[in-house]
């Protein structure tokens, strides 16, 4: 019995050792960037291994927030409204389509469901931006973030739709029938009965789509090529990195990166269980 205790103790030590090592590797880059954003540019260049700035300075933030060529303030608000619109649209499309495929009865239901499920695998990759631009340019929407938002209205977030659908399937049908006797239409049942019950699922979806939209790089880049004033934070940071000035402007880049990181980190700190709930639900059902 004694030896069992002893091996348990040793494996315990080993486990925590592994955990702590991985934690250091995970947290170090993030802390490094955030701490460096308070250094002066000279200190960043000369003393990369001085982790805590000698003097905490907010100059980088002030400079980046007000800069003309790299206006982080404007980028932040672009990221903000773009993300809000994308989250709103995603919630609406995924909850409506999830409801229709859970409760609706129509001839082509199975066909559409199969087609939409196959959507996940149907893409020719980045080249399809040309035909998409072609269509959107007819509506004059290929040159701003609004185009991306409009395209999202027409998109079908398959995994989200599965999540809503499986949740609606767990709700008793009697609810619908009671509402129907009271004179509710199919659409009315969704807005009056189902949508309020969907709140927990929608919270998960909102957080996941917030993270996706806030973090997305390629599509916002393509849609803001001719509209630099609409660049989101992520787009702007990479644009600065790729420009010649990037190498000399690590201070601005660190400040902007920290500003881009903080909202996601805060949301994660508060709602981390929603993140993981979404993952496992998607893993089992999607």
């Amino acid at each position: 019995m004694h030896s069992v205790k002893k091996t348990n103790f040793i494996t315990g030590i080993f486990t925590y050792l592994v955990f702590i090592c991985v934690t250091v590797v995970v947290v170090f880059p993030l802390l490094y960037v955030i701490l460096s954003s308070f250094k002066s540019n000279m200190e960043i260049m000369a003393y990369p291994d001085r982790y805590f700035p000698k003097e905490f300075t907010f100059d980088n933030y002030i400079q980046a927030w007000n800069s003309d060529s790299f206006n982080v303030g404007r980028m932040f608000f672009n990221s903000l409204w773009f993300t809000c619109c994308m989250v709103f649209v995603t919630l609406l499309t995924s909850s409506i389509s999830g409801y229709v495929f859970a409760r609706g009865e129509f001839k082509l239901k199975k066909v559409f469901f199969a087609i939409f499920s196959a959507l996940m695998f149907m893409s020719l990759g980045s080249i399809t931006i040309y035909p998409k631009f072609e269509v959107l340019s007819m509506l004059g929407l290929n040159k701003s973030l609004w185009g991306l938002i409009v395209m999202q209205c027409f998109g079908i977030p398959v995994v989200n739709m599965y999540m809503v659908r499986s949740f609606v399937n767990t709700l008793p049908k009697e609810l619908d029938e009671a509402a129907r006797i009271d004179g509710c239409s199919f659409t009315g049942i969704f807005f009056r009965i189902i949508l309020p019950l969907l709140k927990p699922t929608l919270a998960t979806l909102a957080i996941l789509s917030f993270q996706q939209s806030w973090n997305s790089y390629l599509m916002p880049t393509l849609f803001t090529m001719s509209r630099p004033d609409q660049q989101t934070l992520i787009v702007g940071i990479i644009a600065l990195k790729n420009s010649g000035e990037g190498a000399a402007a690590w201070n601005l880049m660190f400040a902007a990166t920290s500003i881009a990181l903080v909202p996601v980190l805060v949301v994660y700190a508060i709602f981390s269980r929603y993140f993981t709930a979404g993952i496992t639900a998607g893993a089992v059902k999607g």
């Binding site: 592994v18 991985v22 995970v26 880059p29 490094y32 260049m45 990369p48 291994d49 499309t93 389509s97 229709v100 609706g104 009865e105 129509f106 001839k107 239901k109 559409f112 087609i115 939409f116 959507l119 149907m122 893409s123 020719l124 980045s126 080249i127 399809t128 931006i129 040309y130 035909p131 998409k132 072609e134 269509v135 395209m151 027409f154 998109g155 079908i156 029938e177 129907r180 239409s185 199919f186 973090n215 790089y217 390629l218 880049t221 393509l222 090529m225 992520i234 990479i238 880049m253 990166t257 881009a260 990181l261 996601v264 980190l265 994660y268 993140f275 993981t276 993952i279 893993a283 089992v284």
Partner: protein, 310 residues
């Protein structure tokens, strides 16, 4: 019941749209979107792959299978596949065992496991673009990684990570693993939760050690799920493109371009040259898609045995 509701419906509001019409209306945007943003682009790309097309209609000409013929001798394209396979191989071989070990250790339910799990998942929520920025700063020639390594006495002279294609690829693999091991760990955690606890108790009574239990119970029990996790991981890694683009831009000299980043870099507006042959890009995109599907089919055929292991 349904007949009753139908009659009630009819009596109450004779002009109301039928349920199925409402269904079609509710998902009408998605149906249109499917035709316009999924089917049409595929048709467009397939049809353009037979043309020389640089965006100017007047200069467009039909070239038949020529685009495909050129593709087969395009060294840049095929070397990007080799990079993709190398990148995937190194990343998976580090990431999956790491994720599995962490998930196993977390599943013991020691104190603080939940907190550690949240921390390990943290990199997953960060934009790959930001990961790219961080990686390029940390591994800069004058950056902190070189300082740490020389302080530890591991290197004498600082390494110019991004000047050499193999160190460059190594850095890319490290950053990419950092960013995505967490999700695989979560998948493994979910899989391990489904292994019945009494199997371990029985093994304990029979005197099997922890390591023996891991290989003789855990691995076989999670094998079917693990093969799916592996498929998702491989598939995701083969498609990596943006991350490469923002970290190294394919450099040095295009030697770290994966297929994904090469196709963006060479053909997508804003990255590509202005008069690039888009028709050729379409041909490459088609070939790429076919190769992706062949890989997926081969994978699922070769792991079929794992699906009914118990």
């Amino acid at each position: 019941m349904s007949t009753i509701t139908k009659t009630i419906n009819k009596n109450k509001s004779p002009k109301r749209l039928s349920d199925s019409t409402q269904c079609y209306l509710l998902i009408s945007l998605q149906i249109i979107g499917f035709l316009v943003f999924t089917i049409y682009p595929i048709i467009w790309a397939v049809s353009k792959s037979w043309f020389y097309y640089n965006g100017v209609d007047a200069e467009t000409s039909f070239v038949g299978w020529e685009n495909f013929a050129i593709a087969f001798s395009d060294a840049k394209y095929w070397s990007s596949w080799i990079v993709t396979f190398k990148f995937t191989f190194y990343k998976i071989i580090i990431e999956i065992p790491l994720a599995l070990v962490l998930a196993t250790l977390l599943s013991k339910g020691r104190k603080g496991s939940n907190a550690f799990r949240s921390i390990f998942y943290l990199p997953n929520i960060i934009s790959v673009a930001i990961v790219g920025v961080m990686v390029s700063n940390l591994f800069d020639y004058f950056g902190v990684m070189n300082k740490i390594l020389s302080a530890l006495g591991l290197v004498k002279n600082p390494i110019d990570w991004f000047a050499n294609s193999s160190t460059s690829l190594g850095v890319l693999v490290a950053g990419s693993t950092w960013s995505s091991f967490g999700i695989n760990m979560l998948y493994f955690c979910a899989a391990l939760n489904n292994v019945p606890k009494d199997m371990y108790e029985a093994a304990d009574i029979d005197g099997a050690g922890k390591i023996r239990q891991f290989f003789n119970i855990t691995i076989p029990m999670i094998a079917p799920v693990a093969s799916t996790i592996l498929l998702l991981a491989i598939n995701g890694t083969l498609h990596v493109g943006e991350y490469i683009l923002v970290t190294t831009g394919g450099g040095p000299a295009g030697t770290t371009n994966t297929v994904g980043s090469y196709l963006i870099d060479a053909f997508v507006p804003g990255f590509a040259d202005t008069a690039v042959n888009i028709g050729y890009g379409c041909a490459l995109a088609l070939i790429t898609t076919v190769i992706y599907s062949v890989i997926a089919v081969i994978y699922s055929k070769s792991t079929k045995k794992l699906q009914n292991i118990y």
